[in-house]
Symmetry: C2
Subunit: 198 residues, 2 copies
């Protein structure tokens, strides 16, 4: 039980992913860093990104209706922040942030080669919500660094050194606390009696 | 630069928040744990949640058009997992997970008193996407634990011991890596020369 203060409405949902979205139109590409993103459907796999109309990428997204979500690791923390602060109108962010464009497998927008994980997306719908346009999109391909595969070819994302965004601050992932279903999993028989978990 | 494998489309966007959503209809309330959630607009402040139609909460959300996003801390990791595994059709999750309902300030759905942060929401739109219904919602009030306020009344979320969800695993937050804008902030004059950050 915790003593609470009541505040006016705000965007206080955290922690969030922070990703570099790449887009391309008219022969030019750009990178925009976003935290307003999330998974919205499992089948088909879909995610959304929300972008202010005044951002340089907004017109490119409307025109091409495609983008790539590049999930950065800790190593790209500096570049991730940088691509969220400067504008692609005046700056070639790939060059300025020392990031390497690489071809995607399905969409026209480039990948950021340094990132460990990419979700190639096609926009299915746009919604004008106020300060932001929400782009709903289907994931059409996923690319992952081979170094993240474990012995069973499972994607061991925790190896990537992921970035987490909390209210203006970037964090690393901490210790693992459990896995989905741990609260109801039957304990395996052990040689000695164990106290039941609270 | 990393060697990549190309995979079929999937919901690989991580890390994500993992939250307990409370809803109420017909005099009954329920809790559903979700990771398919995210901020979608700053002004008005909006977020989305995605819920499978077969989930017990789905009908309650459609009927009441309101819910509360309860952001858990590490202390609620077990309850968060539990409320994502069992169904409210057969179980009173508040009782079973030893969670305490408390009145919200604007909406009819109860808060989970043990959680440090609550976003009270009103649904503005629903979209049928496939496996999931996406509910777009406006945040109408925020409640935060007084223990999270720092000396300047800033919400110090990092104090909460937040939960992060990555591909079936729950993590704690790790060390801070920087704050928004750190990549372009001018260094303050220091008594000794510092090497430039790479």
């Amino acid at each position: 039980m915790q003593d609470k203060v009541i505040w006016k409405p705000s965007t206080m949902l955290y922690p969030l992913p922070v990703v570099m979205v790449t887009c391309q139109a008219g022969g030019k590409s750009n990178i925009i860093t976003l935290a307003w993103t999330g998974t919205i459907c499992s089948d088909p796999p879909m995610l959304s990104i929300s972008v202010r109309p005044e951002r340089h990428s907004h017109g490119m997204l409307l025109e091409s209706r495609e983008f790539v979500v590049n999930v950065p690791s800790e190593e790209q923390a500096f570049a991730t922040d940088y691509c969220g602060v400067v504008s692609g109108r005046d700056t070639d962010k790939f060059a300025a942030a020392k990031l390497t464009p690489a071809p995607a497998s399905v969409v026209g927008a480039p990948l950021i080669a340094e990132c460990p994980l990419h979700l190639e997306c096609k926009i299915t719908e746009t919604r004008e919500l106020g300060s932001h346009t929400m782009f709903l999109a289907e994931v059409v391909a996923v690319q992952a660094a081979k170094s993240l595969l474990d012995r069973n070819d499972r994607l061991a994302l925790e190896k990537a050194g992921m970035l987490v965004y909390v209210h203006g601050h970037y964090y690393a992932l901490g210790k693992e606390l459990g896995h989905f279903g741990f609260s109801v999993r039957k304990k395996k028989a052990k040689p000695r009696t164990r106290k039941k978990k609270a």
